[in-house]
Amino acid sequence: MPAANSTITDFEITALSDRSVLVSFGNIIAEAINRKVLYLHKKLLQSAFNGFLESVPAYASLAIFYDVVQIKKHTQSPAFIFVKSYLQQLLLQINTDSEPAAEIIKIPVCYDAVFGMDIEHLAESHQLKISEVISLHSSVIYRVYMIGFMPGFAYMGTVNEKLIAPRKHQPRLNIPAGSVGIAGSQTGIYPVASPGGWQIIGRTPLQLFNVNSSTPCLLSAGDQVQFASIDKNEFEQLHGY
């Protein structure tokens, strides 16, 4: 039966710190692997063990943080061993066959060079017209693989291979909030102003991170995203929403 075939067996559990473990599924960016990560993340939130604090999904790994003292109060074995065997049991039970596709979130982006400081250089170095960069970047449905680096920063992929671009040698000291960039085969949006080394090709008027909301991040791991090209007037109208 399909469920049995897709049981997760290829993983490694190691200590990240003395209060967290890391379940690793490899060192590659691949949707099938990231689905395992997010499935385990979700499963753990549904059936947390006593002492579980939080889990952090990344491209191909899930970190699980726990309260060592609380666990040691109710088990004889070290907390690490307790958590490790709990996760091993959990991994036996799950499969990723039935995961429904996430809804597509549309994000408007103005690719004007006023906002996309690197778009002209990127087009030139890749022998593309700016309009081709825009259509290549906005025609793909991206997966949010993980949130990290800073509050609400979504690592998305993967970009069309014609757009793959290295990080800048000299990171910029201040990239404005909403800036959309490319690094390698990843694309992402800076939710708040920050130093950064990604090549910036545009800016979204949407607020990716809202400090006053109880759900401060627009995006979370597992979401699907598609960019829509807008002009400067539309940018001004949408700004702040």
């Binding site: 003395d18 939080e54 970190a63 040691k72 070290p78 990290g148 680096f149 401060p216 791991a221």
Partner: protein, 312 residues
Amino acid sequence: MFTTIQDLGRSGYRAMGISPGGAMDHFAASVANYLVGNDKKQPVIEMHFPAPEILFEEDALISITGADFNAFVDDQPIAPWKPHCIKRNEKLRFKKYLKGARSYLAIDGGMASGEWLNSFSTNTKVKAGGHMGRPLAKEDIIFVNPAIVSKAFTNFPDFSKEIDTVYQPENIIRCIAGPEWNLLNDAAKQTFTNMLFSITPQSDRMGFRLNGMDILLDHPVQLISSAVDSGTIQLLPNGQLILLMADHQTTGGYPRIANVISADLPKLAQATVHSQLQFELTGIENAEDALFSLYQTMASIKNGCKNYYDAD
């Protein structure tokens, strides 16, 4: 000067890229609260040297723990790790640097501060929590719970033995192997455990940049981003180390060669720029035992304080 309101940090938001933050030295922050009869989760003021002058416009019961910056109330020196009554219109000052890196001020009943995602810790990156999401500045006013107290605290229990067990021996920092420890060859592993690493001035609440002998990999690696924690020691491509602290990013892409054990994080939080650290590798069970005994030390201080105030 870098003074912020902190508590024990915000748990549960790392998956959104929001780091726990909170006091760099959880032990000193918790004990500061216990000493004035508070719950350990009350917000405290974390100070670096030079520390601010604070005028109290109300009577208050306070304590100062962690680093020793030679605290005075008007012209009277006051001892650290003890409760004190401070009178209306008296001024708390820190006269000179003595030891440690971060000092904590707790006030009976806590202080009014902004709560963001279940924590009063100041997150300067997104400007939230604590005092308007920013470090304290000249002329800021913090509302506190006025206390009608006048005591000398002469028979207050002495916790110096317990405190010493947390901070001694000073510069020996125990670690467990990190997920990428085995990328190091034997010579590189020995460099890590045998050599000293000093804390450079490029160090802050996000992390400490260390300076020491290069640790080089046989083959350069490209890792995809994955979670990190406070105490994670990352190896940079140039062979130098970064040690992540309270305001660390939630994920990173450098090899995580080791992780400082939780019981030694208070010691690390009090290590100053230019201190030399000696890393000592230990096993996960020892690390957990050390954390459990730190918890017991805190519980015994908590009980000592509680018994004192209950006996009143």
